[in-house]
Subunit: 326 residues, 2 copies
């Protein structure tokens, strides 16, 4: 495991039992251990995708046990293990398993090059065998809760957090409560349809959903033939004023703008905060274009609704699992 990195500044309740906070993504698994004295350590590893279908869960358990050892504690003293993960989730006997296209080779097919044939990755059953208290949420819900607690959505009963990153994820709060849904999958707006493109293939198997059109992992696939081998190259060209790159950026913002409008029209939110690696590094380019996409569309539903950068900046993911257990 990597060495722990310095913790960010949060206040922790006096006498709080130690907590382990895990963020499972398609690329890496991140762990934070904290107690009343603050962040005790942070570690991350590449997401395990080989072996039996519980290999990822065993990785999480091992990381927590090793992290506890490095903090001179046993896993038995942990108050709660909070886990945020990419989805979708499926429930087997009420227990969460991951049906995540970026992790499970059995869903995505060999075309995605994943080194396993898992249809799901086990998660909740092995974790509950290993730890006394476990809470698992969609990473969109965790990030939303973090933004509501410490970020740009504090004090709001009706709001959404959108991550524009390798994938597209959303967490929504309506009437003061984060939406979960029957399997904890509310918020998969990245897989919603807002336009008609029938060519862009998503990892989920659909064509033309938002993630297929504008996620970080879609850009090389869509724009390499236009001379942009990745998002960085595309945005660099746009910054130099190249018309072809700017047209693509406008097209990306058209799609994300429709997603944001749909959030406003269907969930009547007060504010939407946006984070994620694609957005964060290009926000000066993207934010004005996204706001212009809403413009004066249907004022009764959009008037006064704010679109703002994530208050937690690039660290939303770090805070997401902490928000579940604090």
């Amino acid at each position: 495991m990597d060495q722990p990195t310095p913790g960010f500044q949060l206040r922790f309740p006096t006498g709080m039992a130690p907590v382990a906070c895990v963020d499972i993504g398609g690329t890496k698994v991140a762990l934070t251990i904290a107690d009343a004295s603050g962040i005790r350590g942070k570690w991350s590893e590449p997401t395990v995708k080989v072996g039996a279908s519980d290999a990822l869960a065993q990785q999480v358990i091992r990381m927590i046990e090793q992290g506890c050892a490095q903090c001179d504690m046993t896993k038995e003293v942990l108050g709660t293990v909070g886990v945020v993960s990419c989805g979708p989730f499926v429930l087997q006997g009420g227990m969460v398993e991951l049906a995540a296209p970026n992790i499970c080779g059995g869903i995505a097919g060999k075309a995605r090059g994943l080194p396993n044939d898992w249809t799901t990755a086990l998660l909740e059953v092995p974790l509950r065998r290993a730890f006394a208290n476990v809470r698992i949420e969609n990473d969109g819900v965790g990030a939303l809760e973090a933004e509501r607690r410490w970020g740009a959505l504090q004090g709001l009963d009706h709001c959404a957090y959108v991550t524009w990153s390798t994938g597209i994820g959303v967490g929504v709060c309506v009437d003061g409560r984060a939406l979960r849904g029957k399997n904890g999958n509310a918020g998969h707006w990245g897989h919603s349809f807002v336009s008609d493109d029938r060519d862009a293939l998503c990892g989920c198997g659909n064509t033309g959903d938002v993630e297929a059109l504008i996620a970080g992992n879609a850009m090389a696939r869509r724009f390499a033939s236009l001379g942009f081998s990745d998002a960085a190259q595309l945005f660099a060209a746009a910054r130099q004023g190249r018309a072809d790159a700017l047209e693509i950026v406008d097209g990306l913002c058209y799609v994300m703008g429709r997603l944001l409008f749909n959030l406003m029209a269907t969930l009547d939110v007060q504010r939407i905060s946006i984070g994620g690696s694609v957005f964060w590094h290009q926000q000066d380019l993207l934010l004005p274009r996204l706001r212009a996409q809403i413009g004066s569309k249907l004022p009764a539903l959009t008037s006064g609704v704010e679109i703002v950068p994530a208050g937690l900046g690039e660290s939303v993911g770090d805070y997401a699992a902490l928000a579940l257990v604090l």
Copy 2:
């Protein structure tokens, strides 16, 4: 006012105070008065759209007073006045006003031919002056609650009701609670964007939203030039197997199918029930096509999610305001 029509069969709590239930639509205002003995009377009138901006509210008040008189009661004995209304709502000092494109000439512009220049129609302030207890909800929320209570969504914590009628309205329940939003406008999925059409103009001022593409009031506008002067003519031709009509019907179901998929993907519901005049009379034609649009798209989010006809059939609207007050 019309004569009262026979009530439908519901059980009312013993000792229940009388209630007045109002359904405000763009075409008509419907009133039901009920007490412990059952439905006492039902009346409806065309929606008043002339006069001062409180003319519609005054119509509602007058209808209730006249209805009470016909039931040999005074308005003072009413326990609650429940109102469901088309939206969107805007709040002025915390009180609901209607910014409904089919009622307010000041929003929709002269092109819509409305005989007033209201930007909003007053509602909650005059009603609260006239009655002790008033509850107002988006008609999508009311219909959802009726379907959850007496219809096809009973016993479900995660579900949606979709009306496919003159307009498109939706009510959604997630985690056991009907979603309302900051101004009670959650559910305006009719104004969401699911495809790229840039020609179809909606009453809300947008182009290409779901309502502009497939609502009952859009069909003549969109398909007259193809030889179908209204929905009835279009569906009749489709039933005769005419290829051009069937192609249009497939196109309508493509749009509604995307809306249904988006509901599943973003809100993780268990079941969606559909009503409304367009759907109800053509459900044998529409339902298989809508289900086919979902097909095997993203099974982790859609598997097992049912699309069913409204349990309350054509009477969902009648029950909607009752569901608020019973």
